[in-house]
Symmetry: C2
Subunit: 150 residues, 2 copies
DNA sequence: AGATTTTATATAGATATCTATATATCATCA
DNA sequence: TGATGATATATAGATATCTATATAAAATCT
């Protein structure tokens, strides 16, 4: 089993994990502030996930994909349904299941959100393209390792 | 003003920010699970912050240092006080202020927590020392930039 | 086929966080 | 010095999340 790295001890690992925690926090806030139509980060994530993959998924599948508990995803999906941004499609072969399907209004809301977020692209980049590229594989290994250590 | 990077658009930046968000989430959970005595991450952070700096701070100072709202810090400090892990020292010159001071029990609890977290150090490291070192300055610049863009 | 186990989702209750606002105290300035 | 503005903290109310558990349907097993 791989190590849940940087939990304590080594000051270097600790410092990295601290930066990651703060960055996630700040980015999530910045992200949420820019989302239109009272969309929350969690709600946007569901719409974006389903539209990127061009698919419909059950609440359980969404919960696992987006790393939240199943009741949390039930709640997020219910909010989206109340806003008519998704519909719940019953499965004819399994009456326990309803698949989450993004509605036209949901597609529109997500595209509007992406546009609003894209507006920040005109601002100067913090890191060079090369540096972003450098970060990705390291963070990916770290994430996979933490994930498998759960 | 620097850019709240990776909010959308560029797939590379988006991927990096996604990894960071998931890593923070997983690490926070792993961290919380290992903390003894019903300490939460937020409570541990306060104890660790004050003990590392060997100081006492007001609720406002703690809120700014640990990047949470003032009412959140009020609540965290109240919990710590109820557990007798900190005491609130009144300022003789300013009766609005009480400084948070870690009690002997608080020091003990934090040291016990650090030891429990350190136990994970025996497990194999995910990234090499060199890779951790590579990550830190990049993440640091990203954090500073996001912070100043708030 | 009926009983048992597994799976998908919902509900209940707890907690941590946020924003908005109230309260108390201090600082400033006319 | 008294009014006004600023600062430190507390309180209220809302939301998002979690764990534990209930419910319903499907799958399995004897």
């Amino acid at each position: 089993m791989s190590r849940p790295a940087g939990l304590a001890g080594d000051p270097l690992e600790f410092a990295v994990m601290t930066e990651i925690s703060i960055i996630a926090h700040l980015a999530d806030n910045a992200f949420a502030r820019r989302l239109p139509d009272g969309l929350t980060t969690a709600q946007f994530a569901v719409l974006n996930h389903l539209l990127r993959l061009e698919t419909q998924q059950t609440i359980g599948e969404l919960a696992r994909a987006l790393q939240v508990s199943q009741p949390t995803m039930s709640s997020t999906v219910k909010k989206l349904e109340e806003k008519r941004l998704v519909t719940l499609v019953p499965d004819p072969d399994d009456r326990r299941i309803r698949r989450v399907s993004v509605s036209p209004a949901g597609t529109k809301a997500r595209n509007k959100a992406v546009k609003a977020l894209d507006a920040t692209k005109s601002e100067p980049a913090v890191l060079s393209q090369k540096e972003w590229k450098q970060l990705l594989p390291l963070l990916n290994r770290l994430r996979v390792s933490l994930d498998s250590a759960r």
